[in-house]
Amino acid sequence: MANRALGAPRLTGPQPVSEQAVTAAKGTQVQSLISAGDSQRADAVFFYAMLACGMSVLALVGLIVYELLTKSSLSWHAFGWKFFFRSEWDPVNDQFGALPFVYGTIVSSILALIIAVPLAIGVAVFITEMSPRWMRGALAFTTELLAAIPSVIYGLWAIFVLVPLLRQYVQPGLAKYLGWTSLFEGPPYGIGMLAAGIILAIMVVPIISSITREVMTAVPQQQREAVLALGATRWEMIRTGVLRNARAGIAGGIILGLGRALGETMAVTMVIGNRPEIAKSLFAPGYTMASVIANEFSEATGDVYLSALVEVGLALFIVTIIVNILAQFLVWTVTRGTPARSHA
């Protein structure tokens, strides 16, 4: 075991340091390593220092929960559960209800998923099952590059490129042909729920497709060969042999994307229109939970106002935590047993 580990120089990760053995023979470096300090006490100090770092992670989450709970208590006592079912948002008279924000967050996120899920699964299927080998790495890298672009840059691009495009071409077309569904009514401003949904979709595609790719890769190769040997076409092989086996993990990826979409702030704030209204049409401006905090937090005068905003944050926090835990569990049910692969 020891020999094999030391003699295997081409690991993908960190390399075992073989020089250490060489210098050990010379004795010089080891001597300096051994003589450094009272080792027992130093060991204990080091252990407690590392333990403190580890505990700090717990402390941070605890701190977040504590801050959110204490700072929102004022609004909680004033409005109770009704806070989430009222649509008044009136800072002047200290009347607050989060319904328009909850609605905007849910609608924009679901819209994003409706657009992003087929695209993300299509990309994942293409990369893992169809693309020639030389394209695979490049495509995976490129889609992941989408995830590295900061949210504010997506917002900037959306304001000056996506929104005018929607206003001039897409929205008039939608209104003309799909106006009867009453989802696409009203003046085409460009900004609004539709723009927010599209920009969110662009942002969650890389997350969903990278998880989908991961779980599809975890499906054993024999599964594919078995289905193909039975005379299936490639699509039938993908559907029955791969997608069906990976569906729990894919669901996990989708939910992880949902978690990202729910909490996404800047890009949405820049294009959704920021009006606390509930409208049926996707052309109408809306507001999300994250955007209202971003826009009004630093200007919130009055304790109840601030506390109401923190309560919106608390609700957002709880929902994203639940969504993320669920997603991780689903992904884990598919990828357990296969060797862990690091992903950002």
């Binding site: 051994i34 590392m50 977040i64 699964i121 169809m130 989408l146 949210s151 905090i293």
Partner: protein
């Protein structure tokens, strides 16, 4: 009889049996759909980068890089203070977040492996990773801004540090776990104490991987805007004090993008280009160095 069975099993025989037109065209349609999906996903990526370079390049000039903003509506001016402010806030964040994250990673891989407490910390780190950035901003506001009495660079740094910790913790742990147990045992066998082994042997062996993790975390927070809105807050002037509001590139891009002035829109594009170049360059440079070290096997 065995002959017949063999015949049935041979896939070559199926080749003669025609696959129905429906199944074949469905297969074709799905392939087309998958290719279309790839194109549709790559399109916005190309469009974002294309516009960044097209609009940004035209607006970057010496003044943009060296001057502070002019009053609204006036032409000229730049984002020098915002670029410096971003670097300043990121430095503050790194000073706090990197040691904490690496320490927690060391704890997880060297002491907490398989223990219930270790699993709890690992799980909590994953939870922290999923917390929306705007929430982290609220917490940093409550912790630093409220106790100091005003917006500050420190508050922004704290917010970004909180976001860096979980990423660094998990990658450090993963990288340290890749170091073979035998390497640690070799050190113990020579009488090297445990803490010395961890720092000088295990961590050093994993250096390139750990640095990559740190850079990933750095790149992730470098473009963050939401947690800075009510912590660092932004500033039209130079500021080097920890306890004063500080400009940041991402904040400046946001303010300029939603402003009504064409001149500011231009500068927002330029700022965005600088931001993305900073992110890509810092990650690329460190990756290059780390990879080279790994190839030599010296790091």
């Amino acid at each position: 009889m065995p002959e017949a069975t063999t015949k049935v099993m041979l896939p070559a025989d199926f080749a003669d049996a025609p696959i129905s037109v429906f199944r074949r065209s469905l297969n074709f349609l799905v392939t087309v759909a998958a290719v279309t999906a790839v194109v549709l996903v790559l399109l916005p990526l190309g469009a974002v980068f294309g516009y960044l370079i097209y609009k940004g390049m035209g607006s970057i000039n010496w003044a943009f890089l060296t001057q502070i903003p002019k009053p609204p509506g006036e032409a000229g001016g730049g984002m020098a203070n915002a670029i410096a402010g971003s670097v300043y806030i990121l430095l503050i964040a790194s000073c706090m977040g990197v040691p904490l994250g690496i320490g927690a990673g060391i704890y997880l891989s060297e002491y907490g492996r398989g223990t219930r407490f270790g699993n709890l910390i690992r799980f909590t780190a994953d939870v922290l990773n999923g917390v929306p950035s705007i929430i982290v901003g609220i917490v940093a506001y409550g912790l630093v801004v409220l106790s100091q009495g005003h917006f500050s660079a420190l508050a922004g740094g704290v917010a970004l540090a909180i976001m860096m910790v979980p990423t660094i913790t998990r990658t450090t742990e993963e990288m340290l776990l890749l170091v073979p147990q035998a390497v640690r045992e070799a050190a113990y066998g020579l009488g090297v104490s445990r803490w010395r082994t961890t720092l000088s042997i295990t961590l050093r062996t994993a250096t390139s991987g750990v640095i990559t993790g740190v850079m990933l975390a750095f790149a992730r927070v470098a473009g963050e805007t939401a947690p800075l809105l009510f912590t660092a807050f932004g500033n039209q002037y130079w500021n080097w004090k920890m306890n004063q509001p500080t400009a940041a590139l991402s904040l400046q891009i946001f303010t300029y993008a939603i402003s009504p002035f064409d001149e500011w829109h231009r500068q927002a594009w330029a700022g965005a280009l600088i931001l993305i170049v900073l992110i890509v360059a810092s990650v690329g440079a460190v990756r290059l160095v780390a990879n080279r070290g790994m190839l030599k096997g010296t790091n």
